[in-house]
């Protein structure tokens, strides 16, 4: 097996063994820190050791019995779901408009809408903090939702834009020729066919908001602290294993989202088979 050619260039697996080892090490480096937190979170001691000496649910208990932690989790969930809805609607509208126009001005509009993804987060953070101070939006859910929506819009625009780019223009034309108004055609023909892209935009938007730290650090505090903001403060000030429990839940959430994305994509493959 090892002496079999590994590729068309006749290199053997044995000759490439070093490459396999290196790649395996890099992948371990990438994945272990994401997963190691899960067993650690079931440790029964204040010190996080691997493998833990004893097992317990005390850190999960600490999370679920703490009003502060729960309150910030609720804030994060509220903000993330509002952001998902707002960013998906605004991003899809903008993406559709950009797709339809093909005018000379479009590049500027698209560039402006993608900007939040390119700019360093710290800049968005102090900028929003600065403007919000004048609009009394600091420490409000509205402020958080608006800032997170701005950060999430580029992801929705890219995802929906990809969907529209591979969507057959004749589909919508057919609907129009059969008597559908532009809105009707979009809702009954276009949207059902780009739903996969819209859904992956939604997932991106949710994760963008739920995992966001830097901007929240500046524009939320006290009762409106997001989960990640409270975690950040906690990590910086003391190493409290409750954070390990929360982190484990976030990792599991990421895995679920990843699986959901795969599921949505597979569904999408089936839907595109329809063409």
């Amino acid at each position: 097996m090892l002496s079999h050619p590994a590729s068309s260039t006749q290199i053997t697996h044995r000759q490439r063994l070093w490459l396999y080892v290196l790649v395996a090490l890099v992948m371990a480096f990438l994945v272990i820190p994401c997963l190691i937190i899960i067993p650690l979170s079931f440790s029964d001691s204040q010190y996080l050791e691997f493998p833990p000496r004893g097992w317990s649910l005390r850190w999960y208990e600490a999370f679920f019995t703490s009003d502060e932690w729960l309150r910030s989790a609720v804030v994060s969930l509220k903000v993330a779901s509002s952001t998902t809805i707002l960013a998906t609607v605004l991003g899809t509208l903008a993406s559709y408009g950009l797709h339809k126009r093909a005018g000379g001005f479009d590049a500027v509009v698209r560039g402006a809408l993608i900007l939040p993804m390119m700019v360093p987060l710290i800049f968005v953070a102090i900028g929003a903090f600065f403007v919000y101070a004048r609009l009394n939006l600091n420490n409000t859910l509205t402020g958080l939702v608006l800032a997170h929506t701005t950060l999430a819009i580029p992801f929705v625009i890219i995802a929906v834009g990809n969907g529209l780019a591979s969507f057959d223009v004749n589909q919508e034309r057919a609907a129009r020729s059969l008597g559908a108004s532009p809105l009707r055609a979009f809702l009954t023909v276009t949207l059902p066919q780009i739903r996969i892209s819209v859904m992956s935009g939604m997932l991106f938007a949710f994760i963008t908001s739920f995992d966001e730290v830097v901007v929240s650090l500046f524009i939320s505090s006290g009762a409106t602290s997001t989960l990640t903001k409270r975690m950040f403060a906690n990590i910086r000030d003391q190493v409290d294993p409750t954070v390990a429990a929360i982190s484990s839940m976030l990792v599991v959430l990421s895995i679920l989202v990843l699986v959901a994305a795969q599921f949505v994509r597979r569904d999408g493959v089936r839907a595109t088979d329809d063409h």
Binding site: D168, N170, Q171, R173, A174, A175, R176, S177, L178, G179, A180, S181, P182, R184, A185, T188, V189, P192, Q193, A271, D273, D274, H275
Partner: protein, 353 residues
Amino acid sequence: MTSGALSIRNVSKAFGAFRALDNVSVDIEPGEFLTLLGPSGSGKTTLLNVIAGFERPDSGSLMVDGVEFITRPPHKRDLGMVFQNYALFPHMDVFNNVAYPLKLRRREPADIRERVKQALDVVQMAHLSARRITELSGGQKQRVALARAIVFEPKLLLMDEPLSALDKNLREHMQIELKRLHDRLGMTTVYVTHDQQEALTMSNRIAVLRNGRIVQLDTPTNIYDRPNCHFVAGFMGETRMLPVSKTSNGYELAGRPLKLALPPSPVDEQWLVIRPERLGWQGDDERDNRIEGLVVDVVYRGDSHSISLKLPGDHEISIRRAPTESKPLPEPGQTLTLWLRPEASVLVQDSAS
């Protein structure tokens, strides 16, 4: 069914420096089957899109039954359209695809069922009304697309190369079927194709387009037999053009005077249109419009032999010899005498006058 008269006046459309449509005018009679024929980039699809309302021209007028349509949005035009790739909605089954225009018009459910059934009957697809679009073959999709386009009894039927995705046999079958359907429903039809055979088979009239202009608008017979320019002649059939020289009282080919179907226009540079099936070589030699051809090779093709000839001026042409024909098969290197009857002899010049 109602059928509309369509009047297109001075329509122009430019994409940047490219003139997709250059001052196009054409009148289409109620019930007529008009084909827009031309190579890609000739503007035929752009013109169809202007009629459907998908493309906004820079100027011009579009009257349907005397009503100005030029700025009317597509969904208020009531024109049925069949697309090149059918554009059937993959997330709906056959029934719902065909019912879609009726639902938009808020017809009663019972009425919708009845009309969908009728339309599917017309295209012989009623038995597949519950099928998913993915489960249909190319020809079936074609039929469903047609049913969807006619179910709401539009004034006009527009078709954009509807048969180009089908294989050759099915395409020829569908040509005949579409033609019969047109005869039965009598719906005004504008049909776009780049396939001259298809245009000749189906149309009442053909508009040949080139560089955004209509170069000839006429019946299939006249388009084929009486092309008005080098381009139209070259576009229809397998055509060779031989330059002819002008004399004091007419034209001559290789020193012999030509007898022509039509009195020639007084232009110096003219070509004689030669189509292989119009060339005579069997039976007794005729005196008129004789051409000598050098046999290059003879190829067996099963149903016939194909004889490649070199005509004066280095033009090559292939003629067929059916097994039933009497004259013996020529040998390569031999010279063959061919002739064109005066009624099949047409001169063309560079561009339409």
